[in-house]
């Protein structure tokens, strides 16, 4: 006889034909063979669907893959922590990608030096307004601390936003959704808004889109022209680097300052 049935000979459920399958299934769930494979498969499927939809903005594989995986986890009754156990290797590389963001940042530093005051002021005001306005509005609507911490890195490029959310005590998943909505809304509504403001300078269009809506805004700016795309990449990189340092300091200072008064 095969090994599996002898292994279960003392178990009452061994009488059921599905026990070998159940045993296999419980072994499989937390392994990379489940989490890692499912993630890559869902992304590949997302790419196929995006191609069939001819690149419609809502058919983004980054949007579709989590929906597919979520559906599989709910249908198969696998909890998120168990899935993450196998998928954490992909999540880890996000940190390495964050370090590597220094390479495009260094590449765009000479452009920043050329027009430091104007570009610096544009980036600083843009990121302050988008961050402060979402925090103020969410606070007015009665959002709890976890919601505020998850919303704060909304204009930051996703890998840094996830690291910030984890560090601030937010929910990284809610942050990913927030960052996606930020990017999509800026990419879809940003160019019509700037046209209405009669702004055509590609440097301004680029900085505004990159600062407020990170990588997705940068991709949109690249469609305007290459110059706008380069400035958007600069805006995105500077916003990520600056907010990564400023946000934790603000959230660290706030309760200490509030305690003084």
């Amino acid at each position: 006889m095969n090994e599996l049935s002898t292994a279960f000979s003392g178990d009452f459920s061994a009488a059921l034909p599905s026990s070998a399958w159940l045993n296999f299934w419980h072994w499989l769930q937390p392994t990379p063979l489940f989490g890692f494979t499912l993630t890559l498969g869902a992304f590949a499927l997302g790419q196929v669907v995006a191609r069939l939809c001819r690149g419609h903005p809502l058919s983004n594989p980054m949007l579709l893959a989590p929906v597919f995986i979520g559906a599989v986890l709910l249908a198969a009754d696998v909890s998120y922590p168990v899935y993450f156990e196998g998928a954490k290797f992909l999540h880890f590389l996000l940190g390495t990608a964050t370090v590597a963001l220094a390479i495009p940042l260094a590449r765009h530093t000479p452009a920043l030096r050329k027009d430091l005051v104007r570009i610096g002021a544009g980036i600083f005001v843009g990121m302050t307004v988008s961050t402060a306005s979402v925090l103020a509005l969410a606070w007015l609507f009665g959002g709890d601390a976890t919601t505020l911490h998850s919303l704060a890195p909304k204009s930051v490029t996703t890998p840094i936003a996830i690291a910030l959310s984890e560090r601030l005590g937010g929910l990284p998943s809610l942050t990913v959704a927030t960052v996606m909505v930020t990017g999509m809304s800026g990419a879809i509504l940003g160019v019509p808004l700037l046209r209405r403001m009669r702004i055509e300078d590609p440097r301004i269009v680029g900085i505004a889109l990159g600062t407020a809506s990170h990588g997705i805004g940068t991709a949109r700016a690249l469609q305007v022209n290459a110059e706008a795309g380069a400035y958007a990449a600069l805006g995105m990189a500077m916003t990520g680097a600056l907010l990564a340092v400023i946000l934790p300091i603000c959230f660290w200072l706030y309760p200490r300052l509030a305690a003084l008064f």
């Binding site: 992304f43 594989p61 893959a65 989590p66 979520g70 709910l74 998120y80 993450f84 992909l90 996000l94 390495t96 990608a97 590597a100 220094a102 390479i103 940042l105 260094a106 530093t109 104007r118 002021a121 544009g122 005001v125 843009g126 990121m127 307004v129 988008s130 961050t131 979402v134 969410a138 919303l151 204009s155 890998p159 840094i160 996830i162 690291a163 910030l164 929910l171 990284p172 998943s173 809610l174 990913v176 959704a177 927030t178 930020t182 809304s185 800026g186 940003g190 808004l193 403001m197 702004i199 300078d201 505004a208 889109l209 600062t211 407020a212 809506s213 680097a241 990564a244 934790p248 660290w252």
Partner: protein, 124 residues
């Protein structure tokens, strides 16, 4: 390629170590990024294929976001109850950020243009 990945992981390790030793509120990976930025600007020696390695990682970047994004399934109730107003706030604040950045640069540019205009007039 291996030495480039090793170099990036070493900076990530250095950043995480600094953040933990000094109890800094900034994420360790961001410290690693800032260290690498200074390293590159200072033109210190770097692995030959570093740029190619980084490009390779960036090509797969969307895949790395997915494990964190799937966590939204644990927030189903929060999103069902708060999703719509959160969505609205996020869109509004994004548009405010775009307008603010653009206005600031346009205003500073106009001041610069006036200054150079005044400069050429006084030169006459």
């Amino acid at each position: 390629m291996v030495e480039s990945l090793f170099f990036l992981l070493l900076l990530q390790l250095l950043g995480e170590t600094l953040a933990r030793l000094l109890a800094l509120p900034v994420p360790g990976t961001v410290l690693g990024m800032l260290l690498l930025w200074f390293w590159l600007i200072a033109r210190l020696p770097r692995p030959k294929k570093l740029e190619a390695m980084a490009q390779g990682i960036f090509n797969y970047l969307p895949v790395f976001f997915i494990p964190a994004a799937v966590g939204v399934i644990e927030q189903r109730q929060r999103i069902a109850s708060d999703g719509w107003w959160l969505f609205l706030l996020i869109v509004l604040s994004t548009l405010a950020g775009i307008a603010a950045a653009a206005w600031t640069m346009k205003w500073l540019g106009r001041k610069d243009a006036r200054k150079t205009q005044a400069g050429t007039e006084s030169a006459r």
